[in-house]
Amino acid sequence: MPDPLFVNGVDLGVVVIAAVKVIVVFGVLLVAVMMMIWFERKVISDMQNRVGPNRAGPYGLFQTLADGVKLFFKEALLPDQADRFVFKLAPYLALLPALLIFTIVPIGGVVAIAHHSVELQVADPPMGILLLLALSSVSVYGTMLAGWASGSKYPLLGSIRASAQMISYEAAMGLTIATVVVVTHSLSTRAIVDSQALSFFHWNIFRLGILPFPLFLVAVTAELNRPPFDLTEGEQELVGGFNTEYSSLGFALFYLAEFMNTITMSAVMVTLFFGGPDGPGFHFVRWLWPILWFVGKTVVFLYGYVWIRAALPRLRYDQLMGLGWKVLIPFSLGWLLVVAAFRVGTIWGFGVFVGCGIAGSGLWQAIRVANARRQVQEESSPRWRQQNPAEAHLRAVPEPDGGG
């Protein structure tokens, strides 16, 4: 179903409504990012027995504003080796997708304003959720180009990590989104939300059998470069990661993009799996309740993100890649097949389920054997024996050089 705003042609009222929606969402997002940064710092300090920001404004609410003003007035350094144009472009490439993805998120229900039926979301394009996939690919460019254009070693390493990580997790993310689309029969986010609105048990998290949601959560967290997947900015290894060379406004934009992405992705998760603005409403101010439900659910996820950051240590790089390729992608692919088969028929469903189980255990065996082989290979190397002398003499592998 197309956007009902444009069904009866475009007149001045329609243009005004569309413009107002854009401006409101833009403003609200910026304020939300400010609040999110404050929220994150407060919650994480709660979890570390600290007080957190409490100087600027009541409860430190304006801390982000103060930081932003400070950053704005700092000098924007441009490294000698930097590619000037790309270096300046990259922060905007990181920020724009974060803003644009939010346009397809349904914030509330459908309301009537001046004889126009208005969906409370900026845009409802028919390709909907594909826009999310496309734009999250674009945001890889922001990170990638920032590191490359800095003309500096550590940012480059950080951006290489980032692009490898984001591309590998994008596959798992796409496959779980495909699972949702298979059930909904539509790419439009409004249709996805509407199909979940029937009852609590029609929410996709239950309809799809729980599993796709944690897969999506992990994939999105990696996509956002948030802890525990923030290898792009591993301070111990990479100084500051891909944005090391950025200062002033460029740095502020990256920071803004990071937190805006967090908010946007929480909103997307609510849309895809938790019924979006769906929830019990009441008779007075009928249009407000869906918005409140949406905001409430999103805040729960934001708290979850902060909690994850407080609780989990950063992954090692090979663990990160292992998790992406050996766990998330097989599981999401298998679950997509199972869900699709159940749409065809129950017998098909169970058949594919068993098939996926067999294929999965085969894959598990293969990974296990490969790991064991690699271990043996590694332990037979003279270097390993030199580094682990205590264990080396327990192994039966002879010294390759015959010993001394």
Partner: protein
């Protein structure tokens, strides 16, 4: 498997979430500093004061031992003969010029230990963030205590009434105010506004020190000392 290794307590994957969530209900460890200040340890090294005797005479005799011992080279002293009709200090000479450069001072307290007359001691005031280099050099005008024997508060110094208490430095008991049997032990030096304070715990039975009572500083400060050194504080 009879000799099983002792099981290590592991948080597991979700343990971290439980731990972090539990902390939300725990009390905060932060002190909201400018509003609320922690009590300072008895031996705290803050900015210096130049003391006087009860009759208003300055204790400094301009011997320059403090300047000689200073490892940071931050003290500049020039002595001058006392004018016979209006002596500044009881003795032959007095400190005519006395300057401490606080951009160099490391607050090691060696000057306090070197001083033969307990003229220079360190207070507990550390909040004196001057904004230019000439303010960093404290002269006699800033260092010498006022007529009541209290340290002078300069416009850029942030300390409040009561915070100057226990502002004595501490020094060897072999100095003039110390008793012979405590040779080599530390004791508090006397100051005009606060009087002579008794020696530190374990040195005297007849003492009534506000900070330490009749017990040693280590016992008093147990809450702030790491367990490794006999205190109560967990960790490290």
């Amino acid at each position: 498997m009879a000799d099983k290794a002792p099981k290590r307590r592991s948080l597991g994957f979700f343990g971290g979430f439980a731990v972090t969530l539990k902390q939300v209900a725990e009390p905060r460890v932060t002190t909201p500093y400018p509003e609320e200040k922690l009590p300072k340890p008895p031996r705290f090294h803050g900015r210096h004061v130049l003391n006087r005797y009860e009759d208003g005479m300055e204790k400094c005799i301009g011997c320059e031992l403090c300047a000689a011992v200073c490892p940071a080279d931050c003290i500049y002293v020039r002595g001058l003969d006392n004018p016979p009709d209006a002596p500044v200090s009881p003795g032959e000479r007095y400190g005519f010029v006395y300057e401490i450069n606080y951009l160099r001072c490391i607050h090691c307290d060696l000057c306090v230990e070197a001083c033969p007359t307990e003229a220079i001691t360190e207070s507990k005031m550390f909040e004196f963030s001057f904004t230019n280099r000439s303010d960093a050099i404290y002269t006699k005008r800033e260092l010498v205590v006022d007529d009541d024997g209290m340290p002078r508060q300069l416009p850029w110094e942030d300390w409040r009434p009561g915070e100057d208490e226990h502002s004595s430095g501490w020094m060897r008991a072999t100095s003039p105010s110390g008793a012979v049997e405590y040779e080599g032990e530390q004791q508090w030096s006397g100051e005009l506004g606060y009087g002579v304070r008794p020696a530190e715990g374990g040195q005297s039975d007849s003492r009534n020190d506000v900070a330490t009572g009749n017990i040693s500083i280590r016992t008093v400060e147990r809450d702030k000392i790491s367990r490794r050194f006999g205190g109560k504080v967990r960790g490290t």
